[in-house]
Amino acid sequence: MAWKMESQRKQYGKALVELGKERGDIVVLDADLSTSTRTADFAAAFPERFFNCGIAEQNMMDTAAGLAASGKTVFVSTFAVFGTGRCYDQIRQSIAYPKLNIKIVASHAGITVGGDGASHQIVEDIALMRVLPNMNVIVPADSPETYKVIKAVAKTKDPVYVRVGRADVPTITDPEAPFDLNQATLMREGKDVTLIGCGIMVAKCLEAAQELSKHGVDARVLNLHTIKPLDEKTIVRAARETGGVVTAEEHSVMMGMGSAVALVLVENFHVPMKRVGIPDVFGESGACDELMEKYGLTVDNIVEAAHDVLKRKK
């Protein structure tokens, strides 16, 4: 499909600058990656409200806690691999436990980091963040949605983890369409099977749905941008109405979005299901497309998973 390719990070930078203009309580922290995460845009516009903490993510998270405890709305950015595991205790103790108004917007998540290799390709960040009480987890599907997510989370008082990628991603949502943080977005109506994606995999789900339609399969596509709190109602309704579910995420199949969906279905409405995602392994250096293919994140992988589910439906 001929989608426009756009950067999620660029929209993050733009949304932050707008928020900075609108609100004096917005402050931004980064750990020596501001030109990559695009918080540098905010730093240029509001230098007095931007604090570079150096390569010291633990210190950055606790500093954020002190700022939030003093009434600030704090955006903290770095690469996802450094903004989660490297400072997990700080996020747990000083952000999630006291439920402070901090938004961790982490870029360069997943294997689409590409050439940097496994050391920089976090495939377990959704898992780490979603098990933390009080923490919300959001994975925007594309660039316009990233903009809307940033604007929406700035209005909440809760800790939020927002995951974006490094690579430009296809624009599949309408910048003008209304956006509800708490509700999965119906991207395509369908009655035979439901494809649930998050992040860059939503576009792959749409392509898979089109491919399936050539075989007479009418697939529904949901964009599950908010993994916590989970829109259980929409998931269960989709399972009931289509009888089968495939999830797709650029994350380990262990304890990511697919696992969250699986648990909802096991407890509420049993249907055949298949998770598309990165197996329980570390990534490696390579081009995005090559990595997506090797680690099972292609349109074909989703189509195949859908056929498997359809077979088991009978």
Binding site: F51, C53, G54, N59, T63, G66, A69, S70, P98
Partner: protein, 276 residues
């Protein structure tokens, strides 16, 4: 140098004695807790809450209040005692420490307890959190000050030094840190577990104004704090030489009472010594 009359200092000392007594009572009734490190920082807490800090127990959310962070969260009993004595909650409530449904958690919890500014317990976080508060005060052009007590065991933590760098980089002269230098940590003497000295030189090298005092002497605590308030463009750390378990003879300098409640006999002796 400001002069304080003897009566005023004696009053602070008697408040501290009572805080020591409450701390031991709480830990005894809870059956667990950290008496040694609570008793070593009591005098600093009393000086802060009964003289140094601008605060109002009836309005814990007052926006211009000075902020306090207990980075060594395991000394919570001492902080709770001083908060209760100040009037943040009833002294009777101290009995609920560590019990089901209590507002007084084993380690400080800012969402449960009035007067607690930051949830702590996992070591090495409090200074960075205090820095965040100090940055916010500067942004808001507020004059309130930030006070943090850190333990010497926390000097092992890398984040302590990350935070030390940040405070001097951003010229946070509105934060004052008290280092409770009781020289003992859970597994043994600090110098045996992980060599810390020369501590004063380390902090100086990180860009801090360093003062060393006897951390059980009210006058010295107050004078050092006044000196810190006058330092411009850099943060101040007051290295408070203290005795772990100070005030109860058999706990003083004892490793045994880092994280253990006294038994009945020990409790009674402590009460006798503290005049309870």
């Amino acid at each position: 140098m400001e002069v304080y009359d003897g009566e005023f200092i004696t009053e602070l000392e008697s408040i501290a004695k009572k805080a020591r007594m409450y701390s031991i009572q709480m830990i005894y009734e809870a059956g667990s807790g950290h008496p040694g490190g609570s008793l070593s920082c009591v005098d600093i807490l009393v000086a802060l809450y009964f003289h140094i800090m601008k605060h109002d127990p009836k309005r814990p959310d007052w926006s211009d209040r000075d902020r306090f962070v207990l980075s060594k969260g395991h000394a919570a009993p001492a902080l709770y005692a001083v908060l209760a004595q100040s009037g943040y909650f009833e002294v009777d409530e101290l009995r609920s420490l560590r019990k089901m449904g209590s507002r007084l958690q084993g380690h400080p919890c800012m969402t449960k307890t009035p007067g607690i500014e930051m949830s702590t317990g996992s070591l090495g976080h409090g200074l960075a959190a205090g820095n965040g508060m100090a940055l916010a005060a500067k942004l808001d052009r507020k004059l309130y000050r930030i006070y943090v007590i850190v333990g010497d065991g926390e000097m092992d933590v890398g984040e302590t030094w990350e935070a030390a760098m940040l405070a001097s980089h951003y010229k946070l002269d509105n934060i004052t840190v008290y280092l409770d230098r009781n020289k003992l940590q859970l597994d043994g003497p600090t110098e045996k577990i992980m060599s810390l000295e020369p501590l004063a030189d380390k902090w100086k090298a990180f860009g801090w104004h360093v003062i060393e005092i006897n951390g059980h002497n009210m006058k010295e605590i107050i004078h050092a704090t006044n000196e810190a308030k006058g330092v411009k463009g850099k943060p101040t750390i007051i290295i408070c030489h203290t005795i772990k378990g100070k005030g109860v003879s058999y706990m003083e300098g004892s490793l045994h009472f880092h994280g253990k409640a006294p038994d009945k006999q020990e409790y009674e002796q402590a009460m006798k010594e503290l005049g309870g």
